[in-house]
């Protein structure tokens, strides 16, 4: 079975400081992993995805994530937070032959000026 656990429901950082949003996954297969962001009243936007190529994945807006099989983790990072990064972030896994996505519970990121 596939699942993801987002370890923090809320993260608060100061503008200009690093961001770390944690995600651990469980998958019976070689997983496809995604991070999506949702701004208020907007759809879910893809930040980045891992699909068994490079383990360090770069996404939009300066975000990146590293797939660590030994730790079953796929944490999202950004070196320097911007006010516009304040949003809800979802870690998502899809494994096996199915098309359905399994979402984490989300992490709400607050950026303090």
């Amino acid at each position: 079975a596939q699942s993801v656990t987002q370890l923090d429901s809320h993260v608060s950082v100061s503008e200009g400081t690093p961001v770390l949003l944690r995600c651990n996954y469980s998958s019976s297969y070689s997983p496809s992993l995604f991070w999506y962001v949702q701004h208020p009243n907007k759809g879910l936007q893809l930040l980045l995805k891992y699909t068994s190529a490079a383990t360090l994945v770069k996404g939009i807006n300066g975000f990146e994530a590293e797939f660590k099989k030994s730790e079953t983790s796929f944490h999202l990072t950004k070196p320097s937070a911007h006010m516009s990064d304040a949003a809800e972030y979802f870690c998502v896994v899809r494994g096996g032959t199915g098309n359905q996505f399994y979402f984490g519970t989300g992490t709400s990121l607050t950026v303090i000026p």
């Binding site: 999506y36 907007k42 759809g43 995805k49 096996g96 199915g98 359905q100 996505f101």
Partner: protein, 118 residues
């Protein structure tokens, strides 16, 4: 940039009424999905649709739910007799068939329809 659109943005209905939630997927996409998010809970998969038929569905997607692609652009979710617990945000998504393997492709999500059942 192409995007998935959903209408209406907010739907209020009485318990027992039928509702139809509408989605326009990205035009060259072949796979279509519905998800829902009850307030304060995870986003949950409902159903996927390919080649005019359901390819997967979850336990949530029982007989009161149905999906349809009535024409070349729309993808609808019908709830026949709404219950209070159907109140949620419903997201439509689509993906294309160009990647290999196909199930590695990302899904593009719409902004959601907030359904409130009174």
């Amino acid at each position: 940039e192409p995007e998935v659109t959903q209408t209406p943005s907010h739907q209020v209905t009485q318990m027992g009424q039928e509702v139809i939630l509408r989605c326009v997927p990205i035009s060259n996409h072949l796979y279509f999905y519905w998800y829902r998010q009850i307030l304060g809970q995870k986003v949950e998969f409902l159903v996927s649709f390919y080649n005019n038929e359901i390819s997967e569905k979850s336990e949530i997607f029982d007989d009161q739910f149905s999906v349809e692609r009535p024409d070349g652009s729309n993808f609808t979710l019908k709830i026949r007799s709404t219950k209070l617990e159907d109140s949620a945000m419903y997201f439509c998504a689509s993906s294309d068939g160009s990647g290999r393997p196909l199930n590695r492709n990302e899904q593009f999500f719409g902004p959601g329809t907030r359904l409130t059942v009174l």
